[in-house]
């Protein structure tokens, strides 16, 4: 028997967990400004995240999905994108959103139970959070189709988790993207856990990147805790899309250091030793070590950055807490552009009883 097709999946890592370079580094990794910008955003995301979890614990936010441990993947993606590109996120990617101009108060608004958080200051063409798993991969493919039809040099980026790659929508999206050579990148954020189900129970695949092979498109695996590898890999994949060479699946290997959401208790299903080991290879340690070694990042710089981030987060929290809630009218005002009579009637009814419930 002869082999009619053979495939390989490559793994990209540029910084090891201690921050030592293990490959030739791209130009941006030699720029102090670029490194500080990325590191600053990772620290900001983590500072915000810690605060958001605390706000949920004190009843100021609803259920909140932490991004703890995903900072390199999310910020690396933000740095790789151009403003005219679009993202179709899941629900943890604040590191990308803040890079693109979304404000922290908007994240709090959303998880505080208010749709105005999706009407954000970031690019108006970026999709809102998508709670139904993997459904957003098709939106990114559709966006890419729009760019392709209009001959615009833009690329869409869809995020999906390891669990999300089991959904039909993911396969449909990568299949379509391959068949139509769409300018889209599928970033599979493999954090090993889909709530309580580990990756080994999700699939028999050795890698999730190899799912790309079935769609006839390139798939690559990257160390998702290595922001330099993530950004460089995504920059190449996005550029490929923009120049009309088609889609890519990028699997970023990271770890969900938090519970799934604030409504979850991961100690019920996850071995403590695994979490402990994951903390040894988390993304901030290695970025800071690399910066200390290559561009003179000091403990004083670190302290100043953390103080600045804490201050910004606190300002966002104050702004959030001072926001008046929407009126009951808002339930009705965005269902249709042209409001049917029956909604106008119901709107008046809701207004009459508004504030009397609960």
């Amino acid at each position: 028997m002869k082999a009619v097709a053979e495939f390989k999946i490559h793994y990209v890592q540029m910084l090891d967990p201690s921050g030592q370079p293990v490959a030739d580094l791209p130009a941006f990794a030699h720029s102090r400004d670029e490194l500080v910008r990325m590191y600053r955003m990772m620290v900001l995301a983590r500072t915000f995240d810690t605060k958001a979890v605390n706000l949920q614990r004190t009843g100021k936010l609803g259920t909140y999905p932490s991004c703890l441990g995903h900072e390199a993947t999310h910020v690396g993606a933000g740095a790789a994108l151009r403003p005219e590109d679009s993202i179709a996120p899941v629900y943890r990617e604040i590191g990308t959103q803040y890079w693109r101009g979304v404000r922290m108060v908007e994240t709090l608004t959303y998880w505080g139970g208010d749709e105005r958080g999706n009407d954000f200051s970031g690019p108006r063409h970026d999709f809102p959070w998508s709670v139904p798993i993997a459904s957003q991969t098709l939106h990114a493919a559709g966006a890419a189709m729009a760019y392709k039809i209009r001959r615009e040099p833009r690329c869409a980026l869809a995020y999906v988790g390891d669990g999300g790659t089991s959904e039909g929508a993911f396969y449909e999206a990568i299949n379509l993207a391959g068949a139509r050579k769409l300018p889209v990148v599928f970033l599979v954020v493999n954090n090993r856990w889909a709530i309580s189900v580990p990756i080994e129970q999700q699939t028999a695949c050795t890698t999730l990147a190899q799912k790309a092979i079935a769609a006839g498109i390139p798939g690559v695996q990257v160390d998702g805790n290595d922001i330099i590898a993530v950004r460089d890999t995504l920059e190449q994949a996005l550029a490929r899309g923009r120049r009309g060479d088609g889609p890519t699946v990028v699997e970023a290997l990271t770890y969900r250091l938090s519970d799934h959401t604030t409504a979850d208790d991961a100690t019920r299903y996850r071995p403590e030793a695994e979490v402990k080991a994951a903390w040894q290879i988390e993304p901030l340690i290695r970025t800071r070590a690399f910066m200390a070694a290559t561009c003179g990042w000091t403990d004083a710089d670190e302290l100043a950055l953390k103080a600045e981030c804490a201050q910004q987060v606190e300002a966002a929290v104050q702004e959030f807490l001072a926001m008046p809630k929407q009126t009951s009218d808002s339930m009705f005002d965005y269902v249709f552009a042209n409001q049917p009579v029956r909604l106008t009637v119901q709107k008046a009814l809701a207004r009459r009883y508004s504030g009397q419930g609960h």
């Binding site: 679009s86 179709a88 749709e115 105005r116 999706n118 009407d119 954000f120 108006r124 063409h125 999709f127 809102p128 998508s130 139904p132 459904s135 991969t137 098709l138 939106h139 990114a140 493919a141 559709g142 966006a143 890419a144 189709m145 729009a146 760019y147 392709k148 039809i149 869409a156 039909g168 929508a169 449909e172 999206a173 299949n175 379509l176 068949a179 808002s330 005002d333 965005y334 269902v335 249709f336 552009a337 042209n338 049917p340 009579v341 029956r342 909604l343």
Partner: protein, 325 residues
């Protein structure tokens, strides 16, 4: 002006809007060179190119999800789901995203999408090809459900659906795709959504129906006229949101209401219409409301489909029932 069928009117509406609005893009299975299994898009790929008339891979959920993405980025996708029995994989995207993108983003993004799909039975189709599940979608906030009943209304309502800033599920009654020809001006004039159309004036009973059942209902009305009962026939046209006012006005004049639909009875759209009249027009009624519907069974395979579909005789009997003391 040419005499054309409903399917030709649908093709004509597509062509007009594609000619006048470059953001309109058609997608679906076999809609390109093949022109669709019912030929609704015949000749359009040749005329507008394969970017604007796209054959998609075979996945209905994907078609709906792609429409969401395309619409959110400024296009106006018009998708064909080949048969209504194949629409179920698309429901996730329609319910979770398409119908609520405007609401979720407080108006930042919207989904001006039309999903067209054949509706109903009566043409000896295979299993799963004769569904009429409009009630599933009428229950969903944020999407309009529209069903034309003549070539002219198909033309005008499809144009309105494509121009509407929100998603529209456009149900095409297969049984009358080629039932009758009608003069239809290709003038780009849309008909209004959210309103009923009066098909026949009458004074004794109001019959509300839509889609292919308008044909049988009008036949029943003719038969009833011969025995001295004057039936008013209303084509609902926009199934959701319902034009309550027109129905209530008519019932206030006639005092009797019969609702005719092909879909199953249980929680069908007829139940909503009956409830509206019970809530707001009960004292206008001289007799209990009657519903003539499909049965609460699976739509049978074609040997028995005419036992399932409401017949002229059933409609006439239901009207008679409103005259029994």
């Amino acid at each position: 002006m040419a005499q054309i069928t409903m399917i030709e009117a649908i093709t004509m509406a597509h062509a007009w809007e594609m000619e006048h609005d470059p953001s309109v893009v058609l997608l679906g299975e076999d809609i390109g060179i093949n022109g669709g299994v019912f030929r609704a898009t015949v000749g359009l790929q040749q005329r507008f190119g394969s970017d604007r008339v796209q054959d998609t891979p075979l996945a209905e959920g994907m078609i709906a999800g792609m429409c969401v993405g395309m619409a959110a980025q400024g296009l106006k996708p018009v998708a064909e789901i080949q048969f209504m029995g194949f629409i179920y994989p698309a429901i996730d995207q329609i319910v979770n995203h398409m119908s609520r993108m405007r609401n979720r983003t407080r108006g930042r993004m919207s989904c001006p999408v039309v999903i067209r799909t054949p509706h109903g039975g009566g043409i000896r189709s295979p299993e799963h090809h004769s569904e009429s599940v409009e009630a599933l979608f009428a229950h969903i906030p944020g999407i309009r459900v529209v069903c034309p009943s003549t070539p002219a209304r198909a033309y005008g309502l499809l144009l309105a659906a494509i121009r509407d800033p929100d998603p529209v599920l456009f149900l095409e009654p297969v049984r009358i795709y080629r039932y009758a020809k009608q003069e239809v001006a290709n003038d780009g004039k849309a008909l209004p959504l959210d309103v009923c159309f009066l098909l026949r004036e009458g004074t004794d009973v109001t019959i509300v129906t839509w889609g292919a059942m308008t044909v049988d209902t009008l036949k029943a009305a003719t038969q009833l006229a011969a025995e001295g009962i004057s039936a008013e026939v209303i084509d609902l046209a926009t199934i959701s949101p319902i034009d309550s006012e027109a129905i209530l006005d008519s019932v206030a004049r006639t005092g009797r209401l019969v609702i005719v639909h092909e879909a199953a009875r249980n929680c069908g759209v007829g139940a909503e219409i009956a409830a509206i009249v019970a809530e707001q027009g009960l004292y206008d009624l001289q007799a209990p409301i009657q519903r003539v519907t499909g049965y609460d069974t699976v739509m049978p395979y074609f040997k028995l489909e005419h036992d399932y579909l409401p017949s002229v005789a059933r409609i006439v009997d239901a009207v008679h029932a409103t005259f029994v003391d």
